[in-house]
């Protein structure tokens, strides 16, 4: 049950504990100071006592690690798990969540210094990546069949992912489009909205009438359109909204003043 390495280092731990107690009490320790790490009473010479306690802690840690890993002996691990040999080639499917987590950590760090919004975005990315990563890791080990694992994972995550991603996509489109329409002039806004609507309608009509068009082409067009919308939205948000002319009577009404029926604006 207890491995050789564990016994050795646990013995060292016990020896260092005894040595620390002896050293503490013989160098001025009093009450239960050396027993309670100085909580009640003195521990004597701090440096010597500290070194011995640190060595004891290190020995205990090493002993626990060794017993956990069965003395780092692959044969012992295989015996414990009742296997002919320890499996070392379990496939791990490619995943982009580690990269998302890394970018999230980076955004968190930058946001901590520069802007709270970036910080929150970073934390959100890290949380999202950790949840997805955990599910991927679980699914990888569910069965020996990669396809079955993928199905299992999707069965749990797709009902969450699809609505969330859909809502996010709609939110981004609405936000970006509204920024663009609020930045350009009134006439340009009507023109932009009309042209974009016509393009969407035209694209859908072409796709419906010519289903032979490649999926890759449609996907590329979709990505390019989304990028254009996103870049336009960011640029528009940076530029700010256009000046809006407020009707005078509304202002007066807000202040409770009579307008007299002659409206400006």
């Amino acid at each position: 049950m207890f491995t050789t390495g564990f016994k050795f280092f646990f013995g060292l731990f016990a020896a260092f504990c005894v040595a620390a107690l002896a050293y503490g009490y013989t160098t001025g320790g009093n009450h239960v100071g050396p027993l309670s790490l100085g909580w009640k009473g003195g521990v004597g010479d701090h440096i010597g006592y500290g070194v011995l306690v640190a060595l004891a802690a290190a020995s205990l840690t090493v002993s626990l690690v060794l017993v956990s890993f069965r003395d780092a002996d692959a044969a012992a691990q295989a015996h414990l798990q009742n296997l002919a040999e320890v499996m070392t080639d379990q496939p791990v499917t490619p995943s982009f969540w580690p990269v998302v987590a890394s970018f999230g950590v980076g955004a968190t760090a930058v946001g901590l210094v520069l802007h709270p919004m970036v910080f929150v975005l970073g934390l959100t990315l890290v949380t999202l990546a950790l949840v997805e990563w955990t599910m991927d890791a679980w699914a990888d080990r569910a069965t020996g069949d990669i396809e079955a694992n993928r199905e299992l994972r999707n069965r749990i995550m797709a009902p969450i992912e699809i609505p969330v991603v859909g809502a996010l996509a709609v939110g981004v489109v609405v936000l970006a489009a509204s920024r663009i329409l609020l930045t350009v002039s009134q006439l340009e806004a009507v023109t932009v909205a009309g042209v974009v609507s016509a393009l969407i309608l035209g694209g859908a009509w072409v796709y419906a009438t010519r289903p032979g068009l490649g999926r890759r082409l449609m996907r590329t067009l979709g990505v390019v359109g989304a990028l254009l919308l996103l870049i336009g939205g960011v640029l528009a948000a940076v530029a700010g909204e256009r000046d809006f002319a407020h009707h005078e009577h509304e202002t007066h009404e807000e202040h409770g003043e009579p307008t007299g029926g002659d409206h400006g604006g």
């Binding site: 320890v86 080639d89 379990q90 496939p91 490619p94 580690p98 760090a109 210094v113 069949d145 079955a148």
Partner: protein, 515 residues
């Protein structure tokens, strides 16, 4: 019925049906992604290792150029502060050069080599936690980006001539970027160490693992003991820096921040970069001459001892009076004892040569030359380190500190190149030619040697404490020799990158012809 049961039932039914088309865990192909997407999604340790290697070598080239500019500033041809645009800017580059070579170049270079090589050495199909390995690369990469950008934006590890509000923010970013880089390296080290501990072939005991795998296990343990101390330093500095105004540790207007972190690039922590070098040297010599050691356990003990001497979180003179720390028995003992493992390893390498086939071709093989060069540079660094802690020489807080640093750093770079010569199939798709390999190693070796010698002479010649070594107190000739050393290191790194690119292109062309 649980959620997994239908899928498991399907899987078992498929197996029971004859199994011809039933995939098994080890043979079923994992879904492939486009080549451009590979760096973002890969779960293959070799790919992650190569990413680390290429990125760190590119950063090495940039860092060595900064080093050459710093050396140029010492030639008195130009005022260093004017050259960089002020004393603060000079200080930023001076500190970036040191931190970058350690955290952005040598440690990730050797970690990348380990990720690509160690799994196959211990008989594992892949690295333990391959996704964590990928995350470690990208976290390191983004952290490195934050560090470099923030330093050039006026950040860095403190200043010497006051700071503005924006520079305070940039300094905070530099600190967070540094912490990210360290955490990423630790995650990568944990992946490698766990591979050696838990994924070894059944029947392979820890004493039987190949020397490089063992040296990486020791390195990972030492990094885990030491680097978190730097993170703790950074947390304390950051907390004080962001509190307004900084009251103790985070004072950015003076060099306090750097003084709390400089232990990382000085003895004994500087040897963190050297532990994996021992494994590469031993394996490269063995592979070149075809020899095997008779006593592998001695190598294990030697590397373990050297690793112990590289634990450096305790050697922080900011919190202890320098006289109490540097003149203390432990510090002196660590400095002197570091020579012993290098000497022992040289003896071990000699035994390999004697037991192998020591023909002139094998002794002049690029791998032997590389291993020998790395060992010589490491030996020179350890020797200077031993001289440095001997009180009568009065070399503490002088440029001799950087002689040790340069010796270890260039030894790490040479070891990285030598690893590519020893394990070309794991690190490259083709082999580096002998001439290019030898040329690269010689350039780095001579450059590193000149840096070590001139820094040591500068340390002996300086009349007072001059850690930043703004000028060599000897004569112009030595200053120029120092510059030549820096330029040779730049040339060596450029040659290494060119050699790797050539090897890769040759392999691609050969592969196309074969197909």
């Amino acid at each position: 019925m649980t959620l997994t049961e239908p899928a498991i039932a399907d899987s078992e039914a498929s197996l029971a049906a004859g199994g011809a088309d039933a995939p098994s865990a080890s043979t079923q192909p994992v879904a492939t992604h486009p080549v451009l997407a590979q760096p973002f999604v890969t779960s293959d340790a070799t790919t992650v290792g190569r990413l680390f290697v290429v990125a760190s070598l590119l950063l090495a080239l940039g860092t060595s150029v900064i080093g050459a500019l710093l050396s140029f500033g010492r030639t008195e041809a130009v005022d260093p502060a004017d050259m960089f645009g002020g004393l603060n800017a000079y200080f930023r580059m001076w500190t970036l050069y040191r931190v970058s070579f350690m955290l952005l170049v040598v440690l990730p270079l050797l970690l990348g080599v380990a990720m690509a090589v160690v799994p196959s050495q211990v008989g594992a199909g892949n690295l333990a936690f391959p996704r964590a390995a990928l995350a470690s690369f990208w976290t390191w990469k983004i952290g490195a980006l934050i560090v470099v950008v923030s330093v050039f934006a006026g950040g860095g590890w403190g200043a010497v001539d006051g700071v503005t509000g924006n520079e305070n923010d940039a300094i905070a970013l530099t600190l967070l970027g540094t912490a990210m880089v360290i955490v990423a390296l630790l995650v990568g080290a944990v992946c490698v160490a766990t591979t050696v501990i838990s994924l070894r072939q059944t029947g392979m005991s820890l004493l039987n693992v190949p020397p490089f795998a063992w040296s990486m296990l020791v390195s990972a343990a030492v990094w885990l003991f030491t680097l978190p101390v730097a993170i703790a330093n950074i947390v304390v500095i950051y907390a004080d820096l962001r509190g307004r105004p900084a009251i103790a540790f985070g004072r950015a207007e003076g060099p306090d921040i750097w003084q709390q972190l400089d232990w990382l690039v000085e003895q004994p922590a500087v040897y963190l970069m050297a532990v994996p070098v021992l494994g590469i040297v031993f394996e490269s010599v063995g592979a070149a001459v075809g020899g095997r050691t008779s006593r592998p356990e001695i190598f294990a003990v030697v590397v373990g001892l050297f690793g112990l001497l590289a634990v450096g979180g305790w050697a922080q003179d900011y919190f202890t009076a320098p006289q109490d720390l540097r003149d203390g028995l432990v510090y002196v003992a660590f400095g002197l004892a570091a020579v012993l493992p290098i000497v022992a390893l040289a003896g071990g390498a000699g035994e390999l040569v004697l037991r192998g086939t020591a023909t002139p071709e094998r002794l002049l093989d690029a791998r032997t030359v590389g291993a020998g060069s790395a060992l010589k540079l490491l030996g020179a660094a350890a020797l200077v380190g031993a001289l440095r802690v001997v009180e009568p020489f009065d070399l503490l807080e002088t440029a001799a500190t950087w002689a040790v640093f340069h010796g270890v750093v260039v030894a790490g770079l040479v070891a990285g190149v030598t690893a590519h010569l020893t394990w070309p199939d794991r690190l490259l798709t083709g082999s580096i030619s002998q001439i290019l390999g030898r040329g690269t190693v010689v350039l780095l070796m001579v450059g590193g040697g000149l840096l070590v010698v001139t820094d040591l002479i500068s340390g002996f010649a300086s009349d007072d404490q001059d850690l930043m070594a703004l000028a060599l107190d000897v004569n112009v000739t030595f200053n120029v020799i120092n510059l030549i050393g820096s330029v040779l290191v730049v040339a060596g790194l450029a040659a290494a990158l060119a050699a790797m690119a050539t090897a890769r292109r040759t392999a691609t062309v050969t592969g196309r012809r074969a197909s």
